[in-house]
Each structure stands twice: as C-alpha cells, then as structure tokens.
Symmetry: C2
Subunit: 219 residues, 2 copies
C-alpha cells in the first residue's frame, strides 16, 4: 500500500516559479484592498497572463481553487508561500556594505516577504565596525565562522565585480547554498549552489532595446 507524500512535479519550469512570485505579490495587494476571492481570469488579466496559464501554473503544485468561485486570496497566499519556502523566515548574510549594500540593508521589502539580513560584512576599515539599521558590519574574515554559527544558507552579494569570485569561494566553503548576485560578473559556482543574478545595467539594456524596437516599428 504505497501512500508516500506525493512529490510536487520535480520539473517545474523556471518561468512558472517566477510567475508564482508575481501572483503572490498581486494577491497580497488584493488582500490589502479587502478582496476575498479572485478568478484565474481576473488575476491573469492584471498581470498580462492568460487564465489557462494561471490555472496550469498552480496545477503543478496542487488543487487550490473552487470551481464556480475562484481562489480564496488568503488561502492562496499561504499556499504559494509554502511552495516558495517563504512561510518561515530565512536568515541571510549581506556581503559588501557599500552604496548598494547599505541601501539593501534599509530595504523593508525583504522582511515583508520573509527574509532577514542577520549578518553584514565588508573589508574596508572605513565600514567594518559601523552599524546600519541596527546591524554592525563585521570583517569578511569572520564570515565563515559567523555564517556557520547562525546556520545561514542565503547570501546577498553586493561587492565590486573584481571581488565577487573570491568572495564566492569562501561563501561556498562556509556552507552557503544560495547567492543573490548583484556583481556584474559570471560567478564560478559548483552545481550544488543556486544563484540568481541581478545586473542593473543589463536590465536597463533590456529596456533600451524595447524602446528602440518600438521606435523603429512605428516609423
């Protein structure tokens, strides 16, 4: 009698997971304005996605809707958080406390979605020892020790490009398994570590292309 808990389809496309985050954000907004339920077609049209896609995306993970009614916003929010793993808070380490790092420390959105920066590191004597948002910056040398002690798995990398790969090596050594990378370089990582890259200049390039393309086609 085999009744193992059924693994959610192990082959979830990346695009699906990305839309899950988008649905979550929209549902949280709907909750804020007091909405109780929403249909796949209404949710989709707010986000530029078809109703079929919305339903298919959720179907990868289970049955969350009510035929004739739609989805209950509150319930769906908590299902999605469970899927993404943000139903509990993730402690994280910030590597690099320059301009961008300091801004990230002040960003409230992380906390709202279940992430808390518990450690911050830098190498500059001008920054190590200072406090931002109540968190004191340690020297990067102490990172392995402190990351292990606090059992941290996620790192936010906000160091200059040329320092990135060296930092990554010690992060991996220290047991970090996920890196949010703001440095505009390709990281050399073992396959056992996940990375999400955010390159601000690349994003602007995508925008420039979209604007140019539109300009050309409307001639």
């Amino acid at each position: 009698m085999t009744s193992q808990k059924q693994d959610p389809d192990p082959n979830v496309p990346k695009a699906v997971v990305s839309r899950l985050s988008l649905y979550l954000r929209e549902l949280q907004q709907l909750l804020r304005v007091g909405r109780k339920t929403i249909s796949s077609s209404k949710l989709g049209s707010r986000l530029g996605v078809t109703d079929a896609q919305v339903r298919k995306d959720f179907a990868y993970f289970g049955q969350f809707g009510y035929p004739g009614i739609g989805y209950r916003c509150e319930e769906l929010v908590s299902e999605i958080r469970q899927i993404l793993g943000t139903d509990h808070t993730w402690p994280a380490a910030l590597i690099g406390c320059g301009n961008l790092g300091q801004a990230l420390l002040g960003y409230r959105g992380f906390g709202r979605q279940g992430f808390q920066v518990k450690l911050a590191f830098d190498v500059s004597p001008e920054i190590v020892g200072r406090s931002f948002e109540g968190l004191t910056v340690d020297h990067l040398d102490r990172m392995p020790e402190l990351v292990r002690e606090k059992e941290i798995r996620l790192a936010i990398l906000a160091v200059p490009a040329k320092a990135a790969n060296e930092a990554v090596e010690s992060l991996v050594q220290a047991g970090i398994t996920g890196i949010l990378n703001f440095a505009p370089v390709t990281l050399n990582l073992p396959k056992s570590v996940s990375v999400v890259g955010v390159d601000l200049a690349m994003e602007l390039e995508q925008l420039a292309f979209a604007v140019v393309q539109r300009t050309n086609s409307s001639k």
Copy 2:
C-alpha cells in the same frame, strides 16, 4: 527594385535579448583579459548555454562570425551594443532618491554600459535640493518640464510602492517611453510604454525556491 534596409526579424524572443546582454558582459570581460576571438562553444560554456544557441541568437541580427575562427570580441561587442541601442549614451531620470535611489545614483555600472542619470527627483523636503554625486535633486513637480527639456525617454522608478502608480501617470504624460521599476507593484501602463521590473524580494523568493527544491531532491 525593392532594396529597403532589411528589418532584423521583428519577432525576437525576449530570452534572446536577455542573453545578448549576457554575451555582451562576458565579451567585455574577455576583452579586459586580452582575448581577441572566441568560438560560440567557448562563449556558451562560460554562460551555461549551448554553442548552437549562441549562434542562433546572433543569427537573428546578422552574420558576425568567421567560420574556422569564431567571433572577434571587439567587433561583436560593438555589434551587440548597436543592437541593444547602447552604442550611444541614454540620458535617464531617477524618480525617488531614498535609500535605493541614492545607491543607484552612485552606481558606476550604468555609466559603463551607456546610461547617464541626468535628472533626479523626490518629494521629501529633506531630500529636494540636496546633491548626490554632483546631481541636485529637484522636486517631482518640475519633472515634466525638465524631462521634456532634456528629451529624456528612460526613467528609473525607485519610489515606495504606494507612490508608484501616481508617479507613472505623470511620467507617461511627460513623454517617458521606458521605465525601470523597482517598486514592488504592478504598474498600469499604456501599451506604448515599456517596463522592466526589478523586485528584489521576488528575486530572493526565486532563490529560496531553488535552494529548497535542491534540499528536497537530495534526501
């Protein structure tokens, strides 16, 4: 005798354009370390992409390679910049000069890739009038006037979520055609305006999912 300049395939997938930015970044790195040429297979393997995909991506826009040799890095860099539209500098306006906005003003990567923040706006009396990186923050009320005067098409939106859609409305009015959106909300935009969204909490969620998935599958 029809010999109009051939439009590059008007149906370029978004994913292709995104990889173009990635190739560009890698090629610039290769140039820095003195490399003259590179094959599709070597370039691809650095980025986790197949050789066929590299060649196909470029083929959307023309023939840039040399059979038996590969691609000349310098040449390819300038081709890609031309495609993306970053062969000349784009002036941009920053809306919102809080934590994140100030960090973006200090970010050198924009300049390196062909973007220059020429105007910065806020509404807080504590910030309007101050200078960051040699740029003085104007009140948002003056945005339409100044954006028109400087013929700016790109805006970087770094305001709180609740202020975003109001700001967007006046940006569109002012003639902005591309918005890089850091506010964690869906923007209501006419189809004539392009948007690229960067939601930092969403990126961390993607990372959390990847880490959890790996943890589960290796049990």
